[in-house]
Each structure stands twice: as structure tokens, then as C-alpha cells.
Subunit: 480 residues, 2 copies
């Protein structure tokens, strides 16, 4: 029975009724964020930040295994520095936050709060790259960036967000192109292995590529409601920035050459992807690899002799291998069940007097909510297996959803009809012209090219929009 | 013999000749930082940032063991929010960087780039603290902050720097005061155990305390040249901010009360403390606990059969327990010795053909530069012991330096004479009046009160400045 002073686990809006409201409810009720008085900025609360810490640990390990090193660049960019690469400044100028006053005085040169740090890395690279022996440079930084946004939503679109940005310099075009692909693959693996999220990967069209890049590659997971979220990008710059910043090195043949550059990033948006890919009407569901609590132990009839003692024993045993929490508060068992479902804890372990008699306990998957009785002998193995199962269930469910929500259009009419009636991805042929992308976006009220996948299906010979010869199959969809 | 294309390890200025230039040389030659085109901001290079990562890991573990949780607050503070606590805004307003333009428009309210985040934490705490059951809140954040500086030096004083800031809220004054002391002790232990730096701790005078705090406690390590560096601070706020921000909670007796607050921080200045406490004329010396490379293996006569093979074998063995680097480049052995001395690697392991014959190798401490021959059996134990010895040597050497540079003054004349002739700390009695602090500072050109230590010596009955009855013994000194 609920006690007098017990907080209620409040109901959230059903995702089928109002997905946007469901999202807002989840981030709030699962205590991931708080809104701040600063327009467009969020407070990331302990439970949300712990997810980010686990994401950081996982990605940072992958980066370092490949030889990347972390650095820290200033967060201010002098306006003249940002302006050195023309396409880049054009892309970012409209969303900049600008410092004009410092130490009580109007600054002689305005400072941009970094929206991304290519220009700062280039300035530094010019100082430290002299010879081919100094290459490659494989740098990464974890930091905050600011891109001014009119309408914002926690994790998905905020004026300030946290991310990592890798910036590398290479001797040859070939090596830089390999790095661009390699890091895209790191992101793809990270999304699959750590976040249990399958994703299409491919190349962005000219229209959608990063400001200043020659090519942008992207990872495009589909959210539960069929809308895309750009999960991470990897850019190949050629030597455009190197030329703009006058970065040269003495090559093996003793000539002066420009190095070739990449950059790649994943941000706190990835937490939004987790929420919207896996969550359900009971709240958040977290993939085990990044869940702050992997197993929550709920004692049943905890006032009975021996229950709490046993629960503590199990906690100590499991804590050697997993992130475990024992909730022995005096809240009701029902409240606890709801609370940790809301918080998306992948696995619940129930232990009561009868279980103890039977030398067993109950494991409940957050995904299927199915109960399994397992022996207390080899509990660590059983929990490990159950967590792996949660991961696989999440991944497969997301894959199934994507399959169900991926459509094919071979005519203009069909494209518009699917865009109108369905929410998901559309595979369709494209002529390569920006005009057709813009027309389709306008006609559908927001369906844009997500990417040109590495393996294209041959759906027809002509562009779904203009009927001219097709150059590529493109995956299209609405986006967050 | 040095090869043709080999870079030279350049000489640095001797610390006895010019300590400031020595410092600048070391941060540059050890590749800790690069200067950036952004006034007062530095680039932290991989080797410097790796030290910071080790510092973060160590401190973060200590915080979490005591129940603290990490969060992330916005980096912008609306001007009206900063102004809510009067003393606080007065202290920080002169050094603020201010964003006045966002997304192309002049902002209706100016945004301060956080110099510290008490106000943001208070705004959030007002939202989430309702009852005594919500207390204590033990939050910390790792982030960048900006305090506009006129003259800057890498790590010691930069307009932007990295730090952690803990912000906690408690039911009672007693509990908050305990937290303030507890975190000061964490810092003291961290400096001693991780950085091998002994430090005086104590209370700041009214004049020197944090803007808005009731009491500020500080850790004040002495640098090699006798100058103090404020290594970290811990503040007790009482309920001043809680009142200003209208944060109340329902207490156990069902009345509305204001919670009691603390904050505490350590920054990238701690890297400056490492450099200036331990370094010598051969460069940096890093305490093993935070050294990016703890052991560097240098093969001797590496072209001879079996040498590189053995060196790799040792590397793989040691890498299980330590951060190890094997330098098998074709630079000369002499160059390598100098290079890793410059970078402050605590322990060098030399292995050559004769060593292999003898089933031994040579360990060289970066501090004493003494060679020890050790057996390859139990190498891990020997290295562990040698690293512990490096730590102890560093700590004891710093302690000895502090002892030699700590003076006692019982008269005004004596105080001024020591301040003029010596560089170090002066212990002297003080009446408690700010006027005397200011007079001593002016007369000496910068000697300020460091702290009132927890255990005071009774040196005399009267203030060293005005001769009135003394209230405290104060430790005085110049500062970075």
C-alpha cells in the first residue's frame, strides 16, 4: 500500500496520442533534464548526465584505440578567424552567439562562442605541422558548443549542447578519406553496440552537407515514430581549410604540400535518439551499455526476516560486474516497479521470502516485462545473459520498426502519397539536382534527403521528382 | 650520434636565472600548451590534456565515493540572475565576458558567460528542492568558465579555464559546514596523494574570501620559488543565496526553512602547481599518479639482435599495470633521454644487450636521476616500488623546500625585511583588521594573507602590523 508521504509516479502521455508530448513527459519524469531560465539551454540532471558519461567513456575508448588524442581549444573564435573559410562562415554566421564585452570594455574584435572548432584547430595545426613526420594529427575534443536556435527541445535541439569533435590532418587525400569512413564506422558500431540502435549510413547530398566540407557522411537512425535523427556526421574537407589557413608541410619528396583534413562529431542528441528509439508508454528504456543503473534490486516483503540481508548480499555480488542499485526505501513495491520502469532500468531483480526459500530470484526485462525465475547459483551469468537479451530485444525491435516504416516510391505521385499518409523513410531515385530536393521538401512539408546509402537499390532509371535520368537512390525522411 | 633529420631537444632557461621564463619554456617545450590567437585563452595540447584527464579521474572518483553526482548547467547566466546575490555580482561583474548578440539579433537580456555557477545551481535547486527528503543535494560539474584577465599565463591565469565546481545544499548549518571541511580535506588528500604536493590549509580572511560566501577555506601549496598558488577553495554560504533565490524546503518539524549551501572548486591551475612545485632545469617532473606516461622504455643499441624484441616484451608486461611508452624511433638514445626528461616522465627503463645477458634492466628516477639495476624477474614489483619512491621523493622535496622557505616574523620591521629579502611564507600574528592586511600588502608590494591555518602557533600577543592585540596567526605570502 502506498504510504502517506509517498510521491506518486505520475502518468505520462501515450506516445500514440502525442509523441512530442510523450517525449517531453519522459525527459522530465525520468529526471533527465530541467528547463533553465536561459533561453534554449537545458540543465542536464544527474541521471541524464550519467548516461552522457557512459556514452563518453564508450566513444572515448573507441577513439583512443585508433590512436586519437584529446585536446582542448579555446571556446571563443575571433570573428576574423571564423571568416577565413568562406563557405564555413556563411553556414554558421546566422546561428552565432557573440561576445562583445569583456572585463567591462567593448572588445576591439568580437568573439564568437564556438559553434564548431575547425577554424581553431586549423590555427593550431598551422603552428605545429611542419613536416610529413608531424602527420597524421588525430585530435579530438569533448566540449560545449553554441548554435542559436529559435525553437528548442531537450537533447534534440538546444542552443548550447555537449559533444565531441574530432579534427584530423593527413598527408594524402586517400588517408583522409579513409579516416572519414573509419570514423563513420566507429559511430555506426557505437550506435549498434552501445545504444542498440540500427542506422542507415551514407553520404549527404550537396545541399545537406556541412558548411565548408567536400563531403559529409552521416548516420541516420529512425526514431520510433518514423522520423529521422541525424545521429553523427563525418566530414572530408580536402585541403580547403588548409589553403585558407595556409597550413603546409614538407612532403617526403621535399616539396611543400597542403595536408588533407577531416572532422566528425556526436553530441548529446544521441540521448534523444535513445529516448525516441526505445522508449514506451511506461517511460524510458535504456540500453544496458549506457544505463546508469543496469539492474535494480527490489526486495519483496522487505520487512520479513532475511529479505533485506539477502538483497544486500545479491547487490554486493552483482556490483562486482554491473551498475546495481538496491532500493530498500519504504516506498511500496508497486511504486518502485513504476519508478524504475519510468527511468528505463533494463533489468529488475525481485527477491522475496519465497524466492529465498527456493534459492532463486525473479528477473524482469524492461522491454518485454516478462518474468524469469533464475537460480541464485550463477546469478552473475544469468544477469549478464539477461542484459544481453535486453540489448538484442531493443536492437531487433528498432530494426523491425525501421523495416515496417521504410517505403519505396517509384513515381512522383507515389512519393507524395507516402509522405502524406505514412511516417517513415522513403527510398526513391534522384537525378542529383538540388532543385528536386527542394521541390520534394516543399511539396511534402519537410521530407528531405537523409543520405545516399553506400549500397543503393536500383528502383528505376529516373528521378522520382523530375523524371530525368537518376544518378542515385536516396533515403528520404522528415527529421528532428 | 644525432641523425641529420633529428630534432634537437632545446635548452630551457634555468629556473634560478629567470623562474618566469623557465615556466614559459617548460609549458612550451614539454608540449603542454600552445598560445592561441584568442587573447588570454590557451590551447591545451594532448600531453597537457592527458594530465588533466588523470586529474579529473582521480578527483571524480573521490567525489563519487562521497555520494556526489555530476550534472551540467548552461554556460550562460542571464544578467538578472547573476544580480540576485549582491556581494556575488559585485565580485564577478568586473571580469565578465558578455554575449549581447544571438542568432543575428541583439538580445533583450545580456548573457554572462559563467565565471562560476552558484546562481544557476540555485535556480535549479529552487525547482527541485521541496522537502527535507530532497536533501542533501550533492552536485558537481566539470566545465569551462571565463573570467576576463588582463595579463595571462598558461594554466595559472587564463581568461577561460577548465575546472570542477561542486555545489551542495543541506538541511542544517552543521551539515553544510561539515561538507565544506570534508571537501577541503579531499583537496588536501588529492594534492598530497595524486600530485605529491604538501599544502597549508586554512580559512581565508574576510578580505580574501569568495564573493558571496560566509567563509572560504583554501589549500595553499608553495611553489619552488616560494610563491603561493591558491590550489583550490571550499566555501560555506550559509543561507544567503537560498534567501536571495527563495529556495525553501519543508523541514522535519513541518516549517519552511532555507537550506544551507557550499561550493568548492579545483581548476587547471593545479597543472601549474605541478609544474612549479616539481620541475627542474631539465624540464617537467610529473607525479606518477597523473603522469600520462609513467614509464618510458628506451632500448640501448636497439639495432642489436633481440633488443627490440625484449623491449617490446617488457612493454607488454608493464602495460598491464602502468601507462608505458616504448620509444623505438631512430632518434639517438641521448636525444630520447633528454626528451622524456623534458616531458617529466617519472621513470625511465633502459634495456640493452648486456642487460639482457644479465636478465636485468636499468631504472632511472626522474627526480634523483640515479640508476638502479633491477632483475627482470618481478619487474612489475620493482617498477611499482620505484614509482612510489619517485612520488615520495617529490613530496619530501617539496616539503623540505617549504620548510626552508617558511619564516616567522614577530615585529613589523622583521616582517618587511623578510618580505624584501626572502621569497617564501611568513608566519605572523594579526589583529583581524583588513586595514592591516592592506597596509602590509602595500608596504611589501604584494605579500597577502594566504590563510589562517587550523592550528595556529602563538608567536606573540600583538598584531605584526599595528601592535594591537592579535586575534590569529596568519600565513602570508606572494601569490600567482
Amino acid at each position: 500500500m502506498a504510504k502517506n508521504n509517498e510521491k506518486m509516479v505520475e502518468q505520462i502521455t501515450s506516445m500514440e496520442v502525442d509523441f512530442a508530448q510523450w517525449y517531453t513527459d519522459v525527459v522530465k519524469k525520468a529526471e533527465l533534464v530541467d528547463y533553465s531560465g536561459v533561453k534554449g539551454c537545458m540543465v542536464i540532471r544527474p541521471y541524464g548526465y550519467a548516461i552522457w558519461e557512459n556514452i563518453q567513456k564508450d566513444l572515448d575508448r573507441r577513439f583512443k584505440e585508433l590512436g586519437h588524442e584529446n585536446v582542448y581549444m579555446p571556446m571563443f573564435i575571433p570573428e576574423s578567424l571564423l571568416q577565413k573559410e568562406k563557405d564555413h562562415v556563411e553556414g554558421f554566421a546566422p546561428e552565432c552567439a557573440i561576445v562583445t564585452i569583456g572585463g567591462g570594455n567593448t572588445l576591439s574584435e568580437r568573439l564568437i562562442v564556438r559553434p564548431t572548432s575547425e577554424t581553431l584547430f586549423c590555427e593550431h595545426y598551422r603552428n605545429i605541422i611542419q613536416s610529413y613526420r608531424d602527420l597524421p594529427k588525430l585530435y579530438n575534443q569533448w566540449c560545449n558548443v553554441v548554435r542559436w536556435e529559435k525553437t528548442t527541445r531537450p537533447f534534440l535541439r538546444t542552443s548550447e549542447f555537449l559533444w565531441q569533435e574530432g579534427h584530423t590532418m593527413h598527408e594524402t587525400e586517400e588517408e583522409a578519406r579513409e579516416e572519414t569512413q573509419r570514423m563513420l564506422k566507429v559511430y555506426e558500431d557505437f550506435y549498434a553496440e552501445a545504444l542498440a540502435i540500427p542506422a542507415y549510413t551514407g553520404k549527404k547530398t550537396e545541399k545537406e552537407k556541412f558548411a565548408g566540407a567536400e563531403e559529409t557522411y552521416t548516420i541516420e537512425p529512425m526514431m520510433h515514430n518514423g522520423v529521422a535523427l541525424q545521429g553523427g556526421t563525418s566530414h572530408y574537407f580536402g585541403d580547403g581549410f588548409a589553403r585558407a589557413f595556409d597550413i603546409t608541410y614538407t612532403a617526403r619528396d621535399n616539396t611543400q604540400k597542403y595536408p588533407h583534413q577531416t572532422s566528425w562529431g556526436v553530441s548529446t542528441r544521441s540521448i534523444g535518439a535513445i529516448i525516441m528509439t526505445h522508449g514506451d508508454d511506461n517511460g524510458l528504456i535504456l540500453p544496458p551499455a549506457v544505463a546508469p543503473i543496469q539492474v535494480v534490486i527490489i526486495p519483496v516483503a522487505q520487512h520479513k526476516e532475511g529479505v533485506l540481508e539477502k538483497a544486500n548480499e545479491l547487490k554486493n555480488e552483482l556490483a562486482k560486474s554491473f551498475r546495481v542499485k538496491l532500493d530498500d526505501s519504504d516506498n511500496s513495491t508497486g511504486w518502485k516497479f513504476s519508478q524504475y520502469e519510468m527511468k528505463g532500468v533494463p533489468l529488475r531483480l525481485e527477491i522475496g521470502p519465497r524466492d529465498i526459500e527456493n534459492n532463486s530470484c525473479v528477473l524482469v526485462s524492461r522491454v518485454t516485462r516478462e518474468k524469469t525465475f533464475v537460480s541464485l547459483d550463477n546469478l552473475t551469468e544469468a544477469v549478464k545473459e539477461a542484459l544481453k537479451q535486453v540489448h538484442d530485444e531493443l536492437y531487433n525491435r528498432a530494426l523491425e520498426n525501421r523495416k515496417n516504416r521504410t517505403y519505396t516510391a517509384t513515381s512522383h505521385e507515389e512519393f507524395l502519397q507516402i509522405a502524406k499518409e505514412k511516417s517513415g523513410y522513403i527510398k526513391a531515385m534522384w537525378c542529383g539536382e538540388t532543385a528536386c530536393e527542394e521541390q520534394l521538401k516543399d511539396e511534402t512539408g519537410g521530407v528531405k534527403s537523409r543520405c545516399i546509402p553506400f549500397v543503393e537499390d536500383h528502383l528505376s532509371d529516373v528521378c522520382v521528382c523530375c523524371g530525368k535520368p537518376a544518378k542515385h537512390m536516396v533515403i528520404w525522411g522528415r527529421q528532428y
